[in-house]
Amino acid sequence: MSGLSLQSVKKNYGATPVIHGVDIEIEKGEFVVFVGPSGCGKSTLLRMIAGLEEITAGDVYIGDQRVNDVDPSHRGVAMVFQTYALYPHMSVEQNMGFGLRMNGRPRQEVAARVAEAARILQIEELLDRKPRQLSGGQRQRVAIGRAIVRDPEVFLFDEPLSNLDAELRVATRLEIAKLHRQLGGSTMIYVTHDQVEAMTLADKIVVLRKGVVEQIGAPMDLYDKPANLFVAGFIGSPKMNFLDVTVSDGSVVLKDGSSLALTGTTKAVPTVLGIRADQMRLASAGEGAFSGEVSVVERLGDAEFVYVRTAWDQEIVVRVEGGSNTPVGTTVGVVLSGRTHFFTGDGLAIEGLSLTRN
């Protein structure tokens, strides 16, 4: 078995802590995505697994071996760098085989492995080219190919799509997902700041912020049951709407005084109501939980994002399937028809609470 385990891993740069004790368990064959805003420590964490950064405290296990002091090349990991890190003066073939050749592997074995990787990635016709003669997407494949050639237990990807244009990013995302299936038992760890990449690729997402794990879980778990305000806001697009509420007598009261009855009991006191854009619908003025004025309408084609400015001057986004043809400036009512989330003043999610349907 070759899973991976991080146990209270910490990292300081000088006196500045950047990773504050992280515990993550990764199963063999899992596709795990570390996601978070820039500066959250996700890349540092990946580089600590790779062995490119020293581990200040805590332990990293690959399989059942502690690898804190093991040389990167002996950890059975391969990494795909954001900038691809291809050797500019070597051909694609030489790039992919360089590590094996330098470690004294027989020529035929190197050639066979490179050919196999090239076949998997469909870059056989590029083998004689130099990196500067390749497009961004092709370089990306070569970088992945170099990792495949080493036949590692664990693949590490450090923001591999961020240097590609939008269209190519989607295509390559699909390729990577296919590759994971194709390579069977390989564990993959993937770092990105893009929550869409995280949602689409991952078996398991690790959300990081400021060197702390905010939540670990399957993509839909994170979407449906965010553990806190940060995860709720970070996962999903458009961002979840957050409404400040007060509790009074089994109901929550919005800022404009409208009151919504609650079902369920909890000791925690909800102060924020979260609701995604697709869990609301528009109604005529006066109907629904509250009313507001339409300020902007973004047309996507299959749907619209309608931005409603509330009486307490907050902008709420509502997704309307098909289209609403609501002119800007109209006063509309907003119905909280779907799933709601409640959070305490500390930003923690409250379980077992929902609005009473009437």
Partner: protein
Amino acid sequence: MATTSSTATRPAFAARLWQSRIDYLFLVPGMLIFGMFILYPLFASQYFSLLRWSGFDANQTFIGLANYAELLTDKYFWDAFGRSFLFTSSTVPIQMLVSLVFAIILNDKLLRLSALFRTLIFLPVVTPVAVIGIVMSIILSPFNGPINLAMLDLQLLARPLDFLGDPKLVLWTLAAIYVWKWVGVTMVYWLAALQTVPAELYEAARLDGVKSWQMTLFVVLPMIMPFAIVIALISAISALNVFPLVQAMTQGGPYFASEVMEVYIFRNAFATAGAIPRLGYASAAGVFFGASIMGLTILQILAVRHLRNREKTNGR
């Protein structure tokens, strides 16, 4: 407005000159310095080399190429000429190699105190040559100089070595001091070249289990090769310009054993030995030497071009 014209027709040449008058005004101070101390001397020395001229206030007599004819038969000139190139061809490779080793070691950002080490290695560069001349003469002195004392104590030597007084040793001693003084500059050049190798390449190599010497040999050196040629060129030109060091330490002695080209020129022009100054003759030596360097430089630049072009065509 003195800025570029937006009219469709190309203005007459005089009008364009007038339009650029502020540009020319800005050039005046710089062109004065450049013209007086860089450009004029270049052409003036060619004229001087055709003169018999024995001092800055003495009469000048035009004698055509007679100075050059004499140069060609002057043993001291050819000795100095050869010595300059010997000095250059022995110091440049050593200097480049030593500084490359330093640069590769110091390029590791995680290395403790690497900034301090860089500063220390660079220190001789900022030390005036005159000071180095003095300190090194004392340190290498055969009479109680610390180096000789230390080597005698360790019984590496039976008798003190006269590093600067022995005609067989002196040029090599100067070469060693020269390398010591200037390695810092070449090291900075190499460090700049090494900056062009992205950190990810080292990391990728580490993950691939590529050893550092393999990485250096197969990745780093090929990548910084274009810089190596430029660095060699700059170093070679500087090594031909070794006058201050030699003058400060040996004045070309003993018995002319360290007389490089510039010392020869200086000796003839400024007559330090009490002889009659021969400015025209010294100029001829300078022109001949300068032209040789220029030729060498052009050859090197052509070589660089050739290599770069070849690389480009290979790349496509």
